[in-house]
Symmetry: C2
Subunit: 130 residues, 2 copies
Amino acid sequence: MTTEPLNYRSLCPLSTALDLIGDKWSLILVRDMCMGKSKYGDFQNSPEAIPTNILANRLRKLESNGILVKRPYQDKPVRYEYCLTLKGAELLPVIQQLARWAHQHVAESMPPPAWFLNAKPEDLIKASKL
Amino acid sequence: MTTEPLNYRSLCPLSTALDLIGDKWSLILVRDMCMGKSKYGDFQNSPEAIPTNILANRLRKLESNGILVKRPYQDKPVRYEYCLTLKGAELLPVIQQLARWAHQHVAESMPPPAWFLNAKPEDLIKASKL
DNA sequence: TTAATCACTTGCAATAAGCAAGTTACTATT
DNA sequence: AATAGTAACTTGCTTATTGCAAGTGATTAA
């Protein structure tokens, strides 16, 4: 498997999950990948405007935690795409629940698109090797 | 309603949700309240060992965002309890999905108790005024 | 040759987290 | 009456993380 931090605050499943993806940006990136985005520039262009150094850092962490895979889709010049693994795709239910909650309880938030709420993790993985 | 930050990164529901509870500690506290904990000292005694200044700060934020209510349950000396509102209790599905995900994909994490996975938000609110 | 794009890295300032100790208001003990 | 103890915090300070602006290397396009 991939290298994981190994310094969990506790072994409570919620706590370990938060240690891996419980920061301000990780799930935003997972969302973007759920929406079909896959390139560095795509992530930068999201409305939340992630700083570029943090983007690079989060992509590295998510990769080393097995949530996404980075692979070149061309050379000269080399360009990479970032795709969810099964582990990453299965965060979809988490994101769906968060979006549902915000829609119900945060007045300012926009409604999540229906296709998003009905999507399944399996729909998201396009030929990645787990 | 209660005072909310009003400085959301975007109006995407996921993004607004993360702006409210997407930090390292908020959901840990919501989990504790889901488990029946309600006092300052209870939260401090959780295995993740939240620093006391951060605990006080998070309780304030969660209260001002309408996720919990703080109320005295005795005076002389005054002691407070912190209880989930409906808004807070409805984070349960989010936490359940996170726990489920960790159990499936994080080798080190313990299995979530069955009663927890089957609990419903309504079960959690004990006579708070929404 | 110059300009442009993509995918980053680097340096530094600002913000947040974490640790230890102190405080206030009581109750209980000697 | 003095001492100790507990609950719920606050304060000061150090360390770590974020965020902003600018710079870099590879390559294509004008």
